[in-house]
């Protein structure tokens, strides 16, 4: 695969705060024009990594280069990146216009150029009618777009976004997700977004790095991340997952046998590309709830388990059904409510067969 030179290259970066290792030996390349997401639970080091890209923290070890130049120890005001802050940090004593113009004024841009560039940025973010307003006369969504315009007017090589949507309500957040992707397409620069919201990352990003405990667990395209997580943490963090613990028991013409406590021996198609787990290794067996089908009779060619419906959570478009298996473990299955009567077809206390295609099962070794 031939790739363009990375716009950002992070090499063996480690950052410690006292005894705490916030970012632990991270190596990561981000390509030009990519919409890249750093995803992880709070405290996983994703914001620290972003702040190192902006220059607010300096890495203890390792190097960061931006646009092919070493930027490890360059001050924030001398980097070709700009940031949208979590609190937006729109200056309260300046109008919208002045906020957007600020980044041009401090580097002594000619005033005619300031005017045209600020107008362009305000038009792009649909703020042109609010140019003379003060931030306290704006809604949260508008203030966020001021922060966006203020960063984009600098024409950075990379735009950094720190949890940009976390302060917005659900409807507005969804609209802004689409708008950010549209904006990224139209300005054609690299966006790096930090988020703890997996849906946000999945729906917006071209590639996602999942972080935990300062380390990157997996870097992949959204669909790959969701369908082929490489470890228990990623499988569990992205979406919902039914996880069983098992042990490799045998291998036979392209299939591996896994002994799972309470479920017996399962025969699964071996993954040709992935690492081959050694004999008797402990593995995790995972299947997504929406891949599980609930029927009153067992289905042929599918892995099927008997259980009793324990609880049903109704979400409108889907229902999440929790089935207590004979082993005592609870399995969750998502039903699409694709007909009005669909959610009534199953009731708490009923005996059901849960089944799934052996091809939908993941074998997780780590």
């Amino acid at each position: 695969m031939e790739q363009a030179a990375p716009i950002i290259s992070i090499q063996d970066v480690t950052k410690r705060f006292g005894a705490v290792v916030a970012v632990d030996d991270v190596t990561l390349d981000i390509r030009p024009n990519e919409f890249f997401a750093l995803l992880g639970p709070s405290g996983c080091g994703k914001t620290t990594l972003l702040r190192m890209l902006a220059g607010f923290e300096s890495p203890g070890e390792g190097t960061i280069s931006i646009g092919g130049k070493d930027m490890t120890d360059v001050a924030p005001n001398r980097r070709p990146v700009n940031m949208v802050f979590q609190s937006y940090a729109v200056f309260p004593h300046m109008t919208v216009f002045e906020n957007v113009a600020y980044g041009l004024r401090v580097v002594r841009t000619p005033s005619s150029e300031i005017d045209s560039r600020v107008r362009e940025a305000l038009e792009m973010t649909q703020l042109i009618d609010f140019a003379d307003r003060k931030p306290d006369q704006l809604s949260g969504g508008q203030r966020q777009r001021v922060a966006l315009a203020r960063a984009l007017v600098k024409r950075p090589q990379v735009l950094l976004l720190d949890e940009p949507l976390s302060a917005l309500d659900a409807k507005l957040r969804e609209a802004m997700q689409l708008e950010l992707v549209r904006l990224q397409n139209s300005v054609g620069i690299t966006f790096i977004i930090v988020t703890h919201d997996q849906n946000e990352a999945l729906s917006m990003a071209d590639r996602i790095a999942v972080m935990e405990g300062g380390k990157i667990r997996q870097i992949a395209r959204p669909s790959e991340l969701y369908e082929f997580p490489n470890c228990r943490f990623v499988a569990d963090f992205i979406g919902k997952m039914n996880l069983f613990e098992g042990r490799i028991a045998g291998r036979e013409n392209g299939k591996i046998g896994v002994e799972v406590a309470g479920l017996g021996q399962l025969w699964l198609p071996a993954d040709d590309n992935g690492p081959v787990p050694p004999e008797a290794a402990n593995v995790g067996i995972a299947v997504r709830p929406e891949k599980v089908r609930l029927r009153r009779e067992p289905e042929a060619d599918r892995i099927a388990l008997r259980g009793k419906v324990n609880q049903i959570a109704y979400y409108g478009d889907t229902s999440h059904v929790f089935v207590a298996l004979e082993s005592g473990q609870v399995l969750s299955a998502n039903l699409q409510n694709d007909a009005r009567s669909a959610f009534q077809s199953i009731a708490v206390g009923e005996d059901v067969w849960c089944s799934w295609d052996p091809g939908d099962v993941l074998v997780l070794t780590t």
Partner: protein, 303 residues
């Protein structure tokens, strides 16, 4: 889209009116400190205000009294204001007071802002101790500070008999010493609301440290700085105790002069001078209070 609604007032909800609401309200028991519905609370407050302000009102009123002996009301006149103005030593004291107040305000405001920024921005060994010592002049009894200042200037052999306005330097230094902590406290209060990300955002947008301080931090602090400066001005202008210990025969301030005049008799002239002092102080204090009113808090998130 994000710009769904842009009405400035947002969605303020009106309280339900009508009979049901009124009936409910009548049943609510009177709270222990519910001022509007407890007549005795109103009485206490009324009495307090009377005792506080009656003497001051009398003082102001009698400054217009057309009588040498300040006991019986004899008629209205501005004579004593003119007389006070023409009283050379009183006028000199007034000029001294203003000079000291202006210089000490400027210096203590700068020092106070710097101290506040230092304590807010940096961590350094002994910070807690430094912070405590900065606040000390606020709590030390004035009389102690006055005596200490007098002893200090005597010990270091501070030159006396310098030409005006250098002869005011020891008083000015004392005033700076006790008023800059007030500025620091007020500015620090304002800094608590300062979002650190403002600073980061400014640097991220290409500003240097100095540009950030000038264009982002100081404009944000301005209400606190102005309020602090006005407090410092007021404190300096009407300080008596500390000034009394540090002033010499040629460096009398207005409060000290008034005190010395009162020792002979309380003439309407004293009343007039006091009234002028009150008015300047009140104006400064009101302005300081006004500027300290917090700006509208940011309404978080939402549309």
């Amino acid at each position: 889209m994000a710009n769904l609604q842009a009405h400035p007032a947002g969605g303020e909800r009106r309280l339900p009116t009508g009979r049901a609401g009124r009936v409910d309200r009548r049943r609510v028991p009177i709270g222990p400190l519910e001022y509007c519905r407890r007549w005795w609370l109103q009485l206490i407050v009324g009495t307090t205000f009377l005792l506080l302000y009656a003497p001051i009102a009398t003082l102001v009123a009698f400054s217009f009294n057309d009588s040498r002996r300040n006991i019986v009301w004899r008629g209205f006149t501005f004579d004593y204001y003119v007389k006070a103005w023409n009283n050379q030593s009183l006028f000199d004291a007034f000029v001294n007071s203003l000079t000291i107040a202006v210089v000490s305000t400027v210096v203590s405001t700068i020092l106070g802002v710097l101290a506040a920024l230092l304590l807010w921005r940096f961590r350094f060994p002994g910070k807690a101790v430094y912070e405590g010592f900065t606040a000390l002049p606020i709590v030390i009894p004035e009389i102690c500070m006055g005596v200490a200042m007098m002893a200090f200037f005597a010990r270091v052999g501070w030159p006396t008999g310098l030409p005006w306005p250098l002869n005011l330097s020891n008083i000015t230094i004392s005033h700076i010493a006790f008023s800059f902590p007030f500025v620091a406290v007020i500015v620090r209060g304002r800094l608590i609301g300062f979002n650190r990300e403002f600073e980061d955002a400014s640097k991220d947008l290409g500003a240097s440290e100095w540009q950030t301080l000038r264009h982002v931090v100081l404009p944000y602090l301005r209400p606190g700085v102005v309020a602090g400066a006005l407090i410092a001005f007021t404190l300096s202008l009407d300080d008596f105790v500390i000034t009394f210990f540090t002033s010499g025969p040629d460096t009398i301030t207005l409060p000290v002069k008034i005190f010395s005049m009162v020792r002979f008799s309380v003439t309407p002239e004293v009343n007039a001078a006091s009234t002028v002092l009150i008015i300047i102080t009140v104006i400064a204090t009101v302005a300081a209070t006004r500027l300290q009113v917090p700006t509208r808090p940011d309404n978080p998130g939402g549309g």
